[in-house]
Symmetry: C2
């Protein structure tokens, strides 16, 4: 059975790695608004949370990069889908003193010092990795395994040196071939396509 | 050719009809965060705006209901996809003195005093109306006409007396049959399904 566990990794090229100004998530927080919406798209259903989903953020902005944040759908508490609420939860995580291992900041939210390579080497033990890029194979034509991780860039995309790290570890480059969409909207569609496949038993 | 023009109408059962507290869109503004995300889902592509899309909000919360807001993708300026930015634009619209006719508050954003019935009687002249509800026909099996309006409720849904007004005017009740999704995520999927159909020429 496919699609039992899903995870998303979003690269925040300029997303800050310290306390956030919740009144200015797009500006001084380095488009942290995108990260917040990606978390909401990945985790929230109507009046419910997708308990089998994890979200990973790789944050590369000042003052203290890189940091990775992990949000576990089955364990998260007190999270609402609005950007400011999620921003507050991320801000708490980003004021924790980090080291290589995951530390919990609030229920279901963890933070660590990890490069993309370190993070992916951890995740490929649990997930088959798919990278979303415009020139990839149409998601509708892809057969997914049991547990899938989807990697997306923010408004800037993914740096070339990081793409090499991803391509060495990913099973397939896939695309949503209709229009160029925002990362948070791509996540909604990935869920939808996998929900469809799961429903139809393909 | 189908899907040339699209519009969305979202019913905000408690969304306030006066100045908004941008620091508390979910609480004191009556889940105005949902309205903001619906606008973003309807209008934004990656680094672009869907110019052929209109969004209508029907706001029913205190202090001065009902108010309708219209956002025209082809005319809107200075809008970013984050909730706080869109909330600021809505707050400006909601401090305009309203009457029955549309008044522009900022470029591409208009506000008026309209009931659901008045608003829909105006919109059915331009659009074929589809109502999104769980028991509807699978969106993938629906053939759409040239210009389509999609009606969605917020976290509360749509009141029974308003459903009657809608059912009298809608061509079909349609659904996204996979999971119970938030309104803003439904809008992403409606666009996606119509983009697919357009691309495949069906």
């Amino acid at each position: 059975m496919m699609g039992n566990k899903r995870a998303f990794l979003i690269v925040g090229n300029r997303a800050v790695t310290g306390k956030l100004n919740l009144n200015d998530l797009p500006g001084s927080a380095g488009r942290m608004d995108i990260m917040c919406r990606c978390i909401a798209s990945a985790l929230f259903l109507s009046h419910d949370v997708r308990r089998d989903v994890e979200v990973y953020l790789l944050l590369l902005g000042p003052p203290d990069p890189p940091k990775a944040v992990r949000v576990v759908g089955g364990k998260v508490r007190y999270m609402a889908p609005d950007e400011r609420n999620i921003g507050g939860i991320l801000s708490k995580a980003l004021t924790v003193k980090v080291d290589k291992g995951w530390k919990q900041s609030t229920p279901g939210v963890y933070v660590a010092r990890k490069s993309l390579e370190e993070l992916l080497d951890e995740l490929i033990k649990k997930y088959e990795v798919y990278y979303l890029r415009e020139d990839g194979k149409d998601i509708r034509d892809v057969g997914f395994g049991e547990n899938s991780l989807f990697i997306l860039g923010d408004h800037i995309g993914v740096r070339e040196d990081m793409e090499i790290v991803i391509e060495e570890r990913c099973r397939e480059i896939i695309s949503i071939p209709t229009r160029k969409l925002q990362a948070d909207h791509c996540i909604v569609i990935v869920h939808y396509e996998l929900d469809r496949k799961q429903r139809e038993g393909v």
